[in-house]
């Protein structure tokens, strides 16, 4: 009754506006950090040069255009896309498993991907007409996807609850880490170098091809996530409650798992193991906009993108002349944000 409760409805609507503004703010921050990411480096550009190189590449000299378009832009955009994919996947994962510690990293997806990559690298697989890089990425993708399905089947066979999923995921992490260590032990010097790329996570091998694939996947999957926003929100209030309101929970979980496995498997296939983002982006989003999934899912995606974008920047400027593997700096960059937002948020709810 709007007539009876005008002030309450107004408060509600201003809260909705506030959340939209937070999302807009995150988009702005992300854009800014991508631009800075493109500008900073051994050859620093003025903002004016950068803008000109982006909007009219022919107006600047060939070298500037090459650096911006072929090196920095794919790198900066890939950071944002990977961060977004991991943030979104982590948010859905924490909801469907009803556990604030769930993330692609803690459930063994990343470790499985690294194992897949190490198989291809250490065993020196070659297929004619397929570049080695794509072969490695493909192998990582297949292993990460298989690990999710393995989890799913295991849980369906045993009729276990979400606790069982988490435990099996943790078991997977340790198994795959042991397998990767074993591969490293038998690897040649050369292969070992290559393998470090996967286990530490790095954005430096980005091409427009890999970027396009990941961005396309993210663009296709995100609308489906948003369409499931209401049922996912009811799931947060308890599995029984969602089911009693008519949500087909197993079906919702499975659809969500498909989206998660695609996003994470692609991310790990192209840039290797990057932890932390999938775990903390959802928590940051929760503090910023609450758990109405219409806002929570985009906010988690944008926070993930923003943190990884900043981390990518730091990774390039931290040690002059060297790009530190992104996986190493992600946590260092993300933790201050995380602490500020989580400690400021108040309340004990995750």
């Amino acid at each position: 009754m709007t007539r009876h409760h005008p002030t309450i409805v107004q408060t509600y609507q201003s809260a909705m506006r506030h959340r939209s503004l937070v999302l807009a703010g995150l988009v702005g921050a992300l854009m800014l950090s991508i631009l800075v990411d493109c500008a900073v480096g051994p050859a620093a550009f003025s903002p004016a040069t950068l803008v000109r190189a982006i909007v009219a590449p022919s107006a600047v000299d060939a070298q500037t255009s090459l650096i911006v378009w072929q090196i920095r832009m794919p790198y900066a955009l890939m950071a944002a896309c990977v961060g977004g994919a991991l943030g979104l996947a982590g948010a859905e994962m924490q909801t469907i498993l009803a556990n604030p510690l769930a993330s692609p990293f803690t459930l063994g997806l990343s470790a499985a991907g690294a194992f897949g990559a190490s198989l291809a690298i250490v065993l020196g697989w070659h297929v004619s007409f397929v570049p080695d890089m794509w072969l490695t990425a493909g192998s990582a993708f297949v292993c990460a996807t298989l690990s999710v399905w393995f989890l799913d089947v295991l849980v369906r066979l045993r009729q276990g609850g979400t606790g069982t999923v988490i435990l099996c995921g943790v078991a997977l992490v340790f198994s795959f880490q042991a397998l990767v260590a074993l591969m490293q032990f038998v690897a040649t010097e050369d292969a070992l170098q290559n393998l470090v790329f996967w286990t530490l996570g790095s954005l430096t091998r980005t091409t427009w091809g890999t970027l396009g694939l990941l961005a396309g996947a993210l663009g296709c999957i995100f609308p489906f996530s948003l369409r499931a926003a209401w049922p996912l929100t009811t799931l947060r209030m308890g599995e029984d409650r969602a089911a009693s309101l008519g949500v087909d929970v197993p079906c919702l979980r499975r659809a969500s798992l498909v989206r998660i496995s695609l996003l994470c498997a692609l991310a790990v296939a192209f840039v290797g193991v990057i932890g932390f983002i999938g775990l903390v982006a959802p928590h940051i989003a929760r503090r910023l906009v609450g758990e109405d999934h219409r806002f929570y899912l985009p906010a988690s995606m944008l926070s993930g993108a923003f943190i990884l974008s900043l981390a990518a920047l730091v990774a390039r400027v931290l040690v002059p002349g060297v790009v530190v593997p992104t996986g190493i700096v992600t946590a260092l960059v993300g933790i201050p944000f995380f602490l500020v937002i989580v400690l400021r948020g108040g309340g004990d709810a995750p």
Binding site: M1, H4, H5, W230, T234, M237, G246, E291, D292
Partner: protein, 263 residues
């Protein structure tokens, strides 16, 4: 002569097992008629929640549950919830979600619609007003007390406007004021809209004075079903709850059950 199916909700030969353990077997219950509030009573672990969950389609069960002669089992869950909605015994989790959004989520949980219109907000507010928690609309669930969350959960169920409501201990965390308000609301809605309302209670006096029917569950079968005065006799209470109880008549025709000890 045409055979008219019994009006209301009927449970026929219902069986439920958890793994190997059979909790309910061959249960016949009802008919629970439209426009009457029916209490389901029984001790802890007697299978009240199991019965209601099976009726609401949350558990796989053998046998049939029919609403006005229509078998509910073949219906997909979203459709089934529109006919017959179960309210879980567990309170809504304390998550960072405000009460109004929780109402809207419940409303849209099975639909395709993504945005909520002003009508949705008005309907949700009206429902919160009925339950008596309109002032909590913009508070987050994680900042509410247990009883307040229980009321929000109840409002979610009422807001879906099903034809049959299966409420699992909706009063368990409420103070006397809200117990009375909610009970009055349920009685009003039930008669006005011709609902089938089934409510699990542990408060014998509430069942005796405010419900139209009572159903006593004992060891996985229905021991007594009928008007509360007929069902809640000292002998039945002794068998079911293992308590010694006395039924007294008060001034204005109200009756009281007082427990004097255990068997």
């Amino acid at each position: 002569m045409t055979h008219t199916p019994p009006a209301g909700l009927v449970v026929n030969n219902l069986g439920v097992r958890y793994g190997r353990r059979s909790v309910l077997a061959g249960v016949h219950a009802g008919p629970f008629p439209h426009g009457a509030v029916c209490a389901v009573l029984g001790p802890n672990g007697s299978g009240k929640s199991t019965l209601l969950r099976a009726m609401g389609g949350l558990l796989r069960a053998t046998g049939a549950v029919t609403l006005d002669g229509v078998d509910l089992a073949p219906l997909p869950l979203p459709l089934r919830a529109q006919h017959c909605l179960y309210l879980p015994q567990a309170l809504p989790e304390p998550v960072r979600l405000n009460v109004l959004d929780a109402m809207l989520a419940a409303r849209h949980a099975t639909g395709r619609q993504s945005a909520s219109t002003t009508e949705d907000i008005d309907a949700a507010m009206a429902c919160l007003h009925d339950v008596g928690i309109a002032h909590l609309a913009t508070r987050s669930l994680h900042e509410l007390s247990g009883g307040q969350r229980q009321l929000a959960g109840l409002a979610q169920a009422l807001g879906r406007k099903p034809r049959a409501l299966l409420l699992d201990e909706p009063l368990s965390a409420l103070d006397p004021y809200y117990q009375q308000t909610v009970m009055a609301l349920l009685r009003r809605e039930t008669t006005q809209r011709g609902l089938v309302t089934i409510i699990v209670l542990h408060d014998l006096n509430m069942a005796l004075n405010q419900c139209d029917l009572a159903c006593l569950l004992h060891d996985g079968h229905i021991l007594a079903y009928g008007s509360p005065t007929d069902a809640l006799t000292p002998e039945n209470l002794r068998t079911v709850y293992r308590i010694q109880a006395r039924v007294d008549e008060g001034l204005n025709g109200q009756r009281f059950i007082s427990t004097t000890g255990v068997v």
